[in-house]
């Protein structure tokens, strides 16, 4: 009986948590009536959508491979090495401000929701010192251009380096989190 009550309680709780996801799926098929119009528009009529899909696929594959290759030895090292500051290291990157600089358009943020922060903006300047890519010669212009780049605009190859750096650092945080999870599970 106790088990049934527990199951009921946690079942209600789980339904509440899953509900927003189910509702989102439901909305994808709802256009006043049940229809596939939204899917048709997206998959057959919305041509700008295709490059985004392939970019996402490419990005996910590269990042997943990168994570697997790097995270396993890192987590192994964390579990077995005798050091005092492992947990501090996991938390270190959790503290960063990895959210995008907000523009006026939330949809824009949707596309680049994992990019940009002051911290990385600062790294741009470091990268700039290192690779001598400061062409604008003015901090504010550079920052503005960097910001435009964050939001999807491309101002030539010169900013690709900063862009790559941004994505690497953004993904590095996830890498830390993955290693952290494996570390904690691996201690068992």
């Amino acid at each position: 009986m106790k088990k049934k009550i527990c199951f009921l309680l946690i079942g209600i709780c789980a339904t509440l948590f899953a509900f927003p996801i189910l509702a989102t799926i439901g909305l994808a098929f709802w256009d006043g009536t049940i229809s596939l119009d939204a899917w048709k528009d997206l998959l057959f009529d919305c041509f700008p959508f295709y490059p985004m899909i392939w970019n996402s696929v490419f990005y996910s594959v590269v990042i997943t491979v990168f994570h697997i290759v790097l995270v396993v030895p890192c987590a192994f090292g964390m579990i077995t090495a005798k050091t005092r500051w492992k947990e501090a290291d996991i938390l270190c990157l959790s503290d960063s401000y990895d959210d995008a600089p907000a523009g006026d358009d939330p949809a824009e943020l949707h596309r680049t929701e994992r990019s940009g922060s002051f911290k990385y903006q600062s790294v741009y300047h470091t990268a700039d010192d290192l690779f001598r890519i400061w062409r604008c010669g003015d901090a504010s212009v550079y920052a503005e251009t960097g910001y435009r780049t964050d939001r999807g605009g491309k101002d030539g190859d010169v900013f690709c380096l900063a862009d790559t750096f941004l994505y690497c650092s953004s993904e590095y945080e996830d890498l830390h989190l993955c290693s952290g999870i494996i570390y904690f599970c691996g201690k068992l």
Partner: protein, 270 residues
């Protein structure tokens, strides 16, 4: 014939393990410490154009800024109100999942899926249900909904590792379930619970993305204006000095919390 015999120094096991962690440490250095040093440097400058040191003037000005005070108060309130609820709920769900429901995969997935779903797709549903609520509750619920999964995963891993013999002995002694959990489970899992608390506090600073998508503006209602908004708005105005100073303030607050937490975790481990 004198031959120089080169002795290759063999790495110890511990050194090899530390070598495995090298990418980790290099990343922390490159992506966290180095940029942060730069941020501190900016916080002492008058402006990015006139690189004149003004030392603590920026700190004083930021501290007196009413919007910074509002943002700081809201961020602290978010931590104080949401983190205890998040941790309490995570402990309860993890205990039930591990000890009563045998880690039921469907139920577990319901709590973990929000972690992997993009926030942008969920905000539509949130607006549909909470659009007319003129308070901070939708944001708090979004934060708890999004972060419960990671807490449940960490706590379930810890609870699963506790030796069954301890429970069997307690049951033989006739201890009720709540006494078993209070006397055995929670003290053993205390370091991981504390770690989960710290992780949740750090995640509470990152609620900006959800908040921005929900309110759709750089200037949300006063109750939702957090430190991230403050920093973001100054970033857009290219006011790096104010931004850097508030970033340093926030980091000091986080670092203090982390230090206290890690010290408590260390004591538990000993």
């Amino acid at each position: 014939m004198n031959k120089k015999i080169r002795k290759r120094k063999k790495l110890t096991w511990n050194q090899k393990c530390k070598l495995c962690m090298l990418p980790f440490l290099a990343g922390t250095m490159l992506f966290a410490l180095l940029p942060f040093v730069r941020v501190i440097y900016y916080s002492f400058l008058k402006s990015q154009f006139r690189r004149e040191f003004v030392w603590l003037e920026n700190y004083k000005r930021t501290w007196e800024n009413e919007y910074f005070q509002l943002a700081l108060r809201n961020s602290v309130l978010l931590i104080v109100k949401c983190v205890p609820i998040l941790i309490g709920l995570s402990i309860l769900i993890s205990l039930l999942l591990v000890f009563v429901l045998n880690k039921n995969e469907i139920v577990r997935s319901a709590f973990v899926i929000p972690m992997v779903i993009p926030t942008a797709s969920i905000v539509v549903v949130w607006k549909l249900f909470f659009g007319k609520w003129d308070n901070e509750l939708p944001l708090y619920l979004l934060f708890i909904w999004k972060n419960l999964g990671i807490c449940v995963i960490l706590l379930m891993a810890e609870f699963s590792s506790i030796k069954k013999e301890l429970y069997e002995a307690a049951v033989l002694e006739g201890a009720p379930w709540w006494k078993i959990d209070l006397g055995i489970t929670l003290p053993i899992a205390a370091p991981t619970i504390l770690f989960t608390v710290l992780l949740s506090i750090m995640n509470s600073y990152k609620v900006f993305k959800e908040s921005y998508l929900y309110y759709g503006t750089n200037y949300p209602p006063d109750y939702a204006y957090t430190l991230q908004y403050y920093m973001n708005n100054h970033f857009l105005k290219l006011n790096y000095q104010n931004l850097a100073t508030s970033a340093v303030y926030t980091t000091i607050l986080s670092a203090a919390l982390i230090c206290i937490g890690l010290r408590i975790v260390g004591r538990y481990r000993e």
